[in-house]
């Protein structure tokens, strides 16, 4: 994503000259931008509603969540926000690991750890939204 073409240096001349070609990185790059635009509305809207609107965080409790998730609108909002933010963030972290972890082994295992923990969080969040029970207590 550099704005100017890099100087020549080891590893930069032909970073993907071997192996199969695929457009995976292009789609990942595009996904970061499309998800980013959608997240502007979902995330900034979420932060504004939760932290600023009538009383902000002080008014949030179980009953507040129950009231919100009674509506499919907020369920879908939260679900889309969860998936997009997690996939966007996970792909961002994948880029960062690729940038800094130099040994193949280290890179591989850090990415495995990332994917497993992100998968767990996405699954957990999705289950919570779909199985929420306002009468649990």
């Amino acid at each position: 994503m550099s704005l100017v073409s890099p100087r020549r240096g080891p590893g930069l001349d032909a970073p993907r000259s071997t192996g199969q070609r695929s457009n995976y990185e292009l789609y990942a790059w595009l996904f970061m931008r499309i998800s980013g635009i959608v997240l502007v509305f979902l995330v900034l809207g979420h932060l504004f509603i939760m932290n600023v609107l009538d009383g902000g965080v002080q008014r949030i409790n179980f009953a507040f969540v129950a009231g919100r998730w009674a509506s499919p609108f907020w369920q879908i909002w939260d679900l889309v926000m969860l998936w997009l933010a997690m996939l966007h963030g996970t792909n961002g972290l994948r880029t960062i690991i690729n940038d800094y972890a130099e040994r193949d082994q280290t890179r591989f295992w850090m990415k495995m750890l990332l994917y497993v923990s992100s998968g767990f969080i996405i699954l957990l969040g999705t289950l919570v939204i779909f199985t929420f029970d306002p009468n649990i207590g």
Partner: protein, 131 residues
Amino acid sequence: MATAPVGTLYRGREGMWSWVAQRITGIAVFFFLYVHVVDTALVRVSPEAYDLVIATYKTPIVNLLEVGLVGAVLYHALNGLRVIAVDFWSKGPRYQRQMLWVILGVWVAVMIPGTYYMMIHTVEALFGSTP
């Protein structure tokens, strides 16, 4: 990746620092999101468990941290839009520096009232000024 870089991709100035900040805020927000999904998941345990964890968000220190989180997300979002403009708008690269100052201006303009509304309850509770 090579071990001893000859020359460097890091060029300093606004372009590099805005990217460094994009990276740091992205990582911070991502790890907060992990925590936040887990604390919200306590609604599946019991109303008491959820209300207990949410109570920590209402304490002065976490309230202040939350302002920091909002500031990080807001910067990341605004600068993200700037990066998108640089990539897709034909004049984007030429105006990348001006756009950085614009988004920083927007950031300050939003964070001043934002901090006020987020902190007002905490400040009143701490210093108890009832007019």
